[in-house]
Amino acid sequence: MRKLAPRLISAIGLLLAVLVLNFLLIHAAPGDPVQVIVGDMGGASPQLIAQMKAQYGLDKPLPVQLGLYLWQVLHGNFGYSVYFNMPVLDLILQRLPATIVLVLSSLILAVVIGTLLGIFSARRPRGILSHLVTLVSLFGFSAPVFWTGIMLTILFASVIPIFPVSGMFSVRDTGGFFAQTLDLLRHLVLPSVTLASIYIATYSRLARAAMLDVLGADYIRTARAKGLSERRVVFGHALRNGLIPIVTMVGLQFGQLLAGAVLVETVFNWPGLGRLAFDSILRRDYSTLLAILFFSAILVMVANALTDLAYRWIDPRIGGGRTRKATKTPAAPGSKSPGPAKG
């Protein structure tokens, strides 16, 4: 409890900062939601514009609007989406599952493939395949995610149309639960690979460096000397320690993954929070955007807390007074790992 209280206080402070800063930022952008609505309507009378501004509280001074908004959030009310015409919380809950599916599948894909590629190239660091992995990873890392998405769409949805262009499900009836799951998976492939492409590079480089480090350690030589199979040496002994920087990175990159989801969801018309955020920015749908950013901040905080827990699981020595140190200074690629868990 003693450690939880300061953490909670700093978390609340951070969330307040997220709300206030984002509120000010989005209001600094030119125009307001009423202008967007009027644009969609093909014009409107000044009376109607004034009426809508009053209805949505946009006629009040900015500090008053901010105060009212914070008061509302304090009471668990995230407001009403002016553009989508429904309570923001309902809108977010409607979109959340799509983002969770996309982000988690991309994360798993990136971590698993990235780590495997890293291990693979660490074992023969000067081999042709190792260089190939480096090249492909760097390409994935350097290419902008929206470009990768568009290229994959053109290639696999138009030139060789094996995957659907966009969306999460076919709009036509696909049948029962099993058929729908298959349909979802077909739709998931391109966006998930696109989002994972940047992170595959990160994880493969990280895993390669960490594994190179670990594989040269004394205890690995000992394990090999004991006559253990290479598979056991790599996956049973080396990988566990090699995982520490990767787990750190997963925690740190969760926020970036959500940011990447904004682009990927927009390119692939994925009906998640990312696309909603993009639409909300273009449409100046203040309450929706602020709520998405607020919940994203919470998700990032939760991800960081889970990372802490994962450390303890991977390396039981981390904990107590050393936990915070480990959280604050994550192991950089190539840095010394905390050492063998078991000999």
Binding site: V38, D40, G42, S45, V165, T266
Partner: protein, 533 residues
């Protein structure tokens, strides 16, 4: 007035014939439409809700015209046809219109459509619809019996019949929409109407599903069982989806490259028929209160320095039509008897010299900023990029200013922070609704997008527009609008370039795709699949 009456009688005769053909049904048709099937539409418009009585715009009008019926509908010749009103009469003095409603129309909740619902809807539209001028002359609405509606007008108002189109006058059930504040009525998202389809689900910003209304009052219609509308974040993905068959119809394309791509796609038909009533015109609008654009010679000079033929034929690949004035080509009120500003750089130079804007040592007379609506690539960005080199020829340096999104552009232009902007504006049927707003000096309203943003002020134009709005004689009305067009084009607060190339792309096998004056913004009740889909 006599002419108006004749027109009304002619319409009545046409009405009876049309009604007869409807009751005669498939027997008269060349090939009998087949019932059944699902249609998947792709769109980029997100409907805020489905209540077209209080929300204008294409995104809402597309579903609203399917969900709600209206008193009249229009054919491709701008002639009214019966819909909820089986017949109608315009009074001799033009100051009232009587509607005789069908007696078998029901809302999707089972209640009958009555005169009271029509009265309620007209009053609601007058009060809440964004196009305030549309029903402004309506004073009162009487309901002498259950199926008769009498609309009283302050003065003769020829635009009223067009305002009774599905896109502009959805008839709402009073018992559903009459309770509480209509702006926040939950039925806006769960609509109850009497149109050919009813809404069964809406996933905000993602897709919505319309199902056949089994109680639709036109027997044998609609033919389709279901329309699924998928909302795309951008038109490129939508076009790809049409190409690979995920989507059956893109009801409203406006990008030249998209149209050209789909024209080449096998199994896809692209039609640009109809849309005249929406009347979208692409133009260049000056800030006429800012120097040197307050000088008509400078505006005209820029008109002569731009090669409109090059824009239409080359930049727009011949897909769009040339527009010469403020009333969209295709409207019976449009005229081409105006100055065409044919490409003439010599004349442009002369006019600029005359205006005292001599070339400097580097050949530049002055520098101007040109804006464009974000998102419009072909008719916006490419046109203003072309202007950069075109105006350079006459000594004007153009700086193109990009806006990241619509509110940024609209904020700049409506607050007069601009020199010249590309803009595309819709006529919305009659000039009273969508044309006059751009030129009336009484509509110079800072901060209001698509008001008179050029701040154009000509008392003669004000007078003509106000007279034409209440002129009951169609021929006289046409004359007044012809003179208005001539003056506006001459004064050049706006340089008219081309129509926005609206088109519908649909999979082969889909028949009777709407091609009327409202394009896809009309009931899709007669659309059917000729082959199984």
């Amino acid at each position: 007035m006599t002419a108006l009456r004749t027109k009304a009688l002619a319409a009545l005769a046409a009405t009876s014939l049309a009604a007869l053909s409807l009751t005669a049904g498939p027997a008269l048709a060349q090939s009998a439409p087949k019932d059944g099937g699902t249609l998947v539409m792709g769109t980029v418009g997100v409907p805020r809700h489905f209540d077209g009585a209080i929300q204008s715009g294409i995104a809402t009008a597309l579903p609203s015209t399917q969900i709600f019926a209206s008193p009249l509908r229009y054919d491709k010749n701008w002639d009214p046809e019966p819909y909820l009103a089986k017949s109608w009469e315009v009074a001799k003095d033009g100051k009232s219109v009587t509607l005789h409603l069908v007696d078998n129309a029901k809302f999707s909740d089972g209640t009958p459509v009555t005169a009271e619902d029509v009265k309620f809807s007209i009053e609601t539209i007058k009060k809440y619809h964004p196009f305030k001028t549309m029903l402004a002359p309506v004073t009162t609405v009487d309901t002498p019996d259950k199926y008769t509606v009498v609309i009283h007008l302050a003065h003769p108002y020829p635009a009223l019949l067009l305002a009774m189109s599905p896109a502009l006058m959805p008839i709402l059930p009073e018992h559903v929409y009459g309770k509480g504040d209509i702006q926040t009525n939950p039925a806006n998202l769960k609509p109850v109407g009497s149109g050919p389809f009813k809404l069964v689900s809406y996933k905000q910003g993602d897709s919505y599903v319309l199902e056949k209304n089994p109680d639709f009052f036109l027997k044998g219609r609609p033919h389709l069982d279901k329309i699924i509308v998928k909302i795309f974040a951008d038109p490129e993905n939508m076009v790809l989806a049409v190409q690979n068959g995920e989507v059956d119809v893109a009801p409203l394309l406006s990008d030249v490259r998209d149209i050209q791509r789909l024209e080449k796609a096998p199994d896809v038909t692209v039609s640009n028929k109809g849309f005249e009533a929406i009347g979208p015109i692409n133009w260049l609008e000056f800030n006429t209160k800012k120097k040197p654009f307050d000088d008509v010679r400078v505006r005209q000079a820029i008109g002569y320095a731009i090669n409109k033929k090059f824009i239409v034929d080359r930049l727009l690949g011949g897909v769009a039509k040339r527009a010469y004035g403020p009333i969209a080509p295709g409207s019976p009120l449009a005229t081409t008897d105006v100055n065409h500003y044919d490409y003439n750089p010599k004349k442009a130079n002369e006019l600029l010299d005359e205006a005292g804007l001599k070339k400097g040592a580097d050949g530049t007379r002055f520098t101007m900023t040109v804006d464009y609506i974000p998102g419009s690539v072909d008719i916006g960005r490419n046109v203003v990029e072309y202007m950069r080199s075109a105006l350079r020829q006459v000594g004007i340096k153009v700086e193109v200013r990009t806006s990241p999104d619509f509110p940024t552009w609209s904020n700049r232009i409506s607050n007069y922070d601009f020199d010249l902007t590309e803009d595309d504006v819709y006529n919305w049927g009659d000039p009273v609704i969508g044309v006059a707003r751009t030129y009336l000096s009484s509509n110079i309203r800072k901060g209001v997008v698509w008001a008179n943003m050029a701040q154009y002020d000509n008392p003669k134009v004000d007078k003509l527009l106000n007279e034409a709005a209440v002129e009951g004689d169609p021929a006289k009305r046409k004359e007044l609008y012809a003179e208005f067009q001539k003056i506006v084009v001459g004064d050049a607060p706006i340089l008219f370039l081309n129509t926005v190339p609206f088109a519908i792309a649909y999979k082969k096998g889909l028949e009777n795709v709407p091609a009327g004056i409202w394009g896809s913004l009309q009931p899709w009740d007669n659309v059917y699949w000729s082959k199984k889909n």
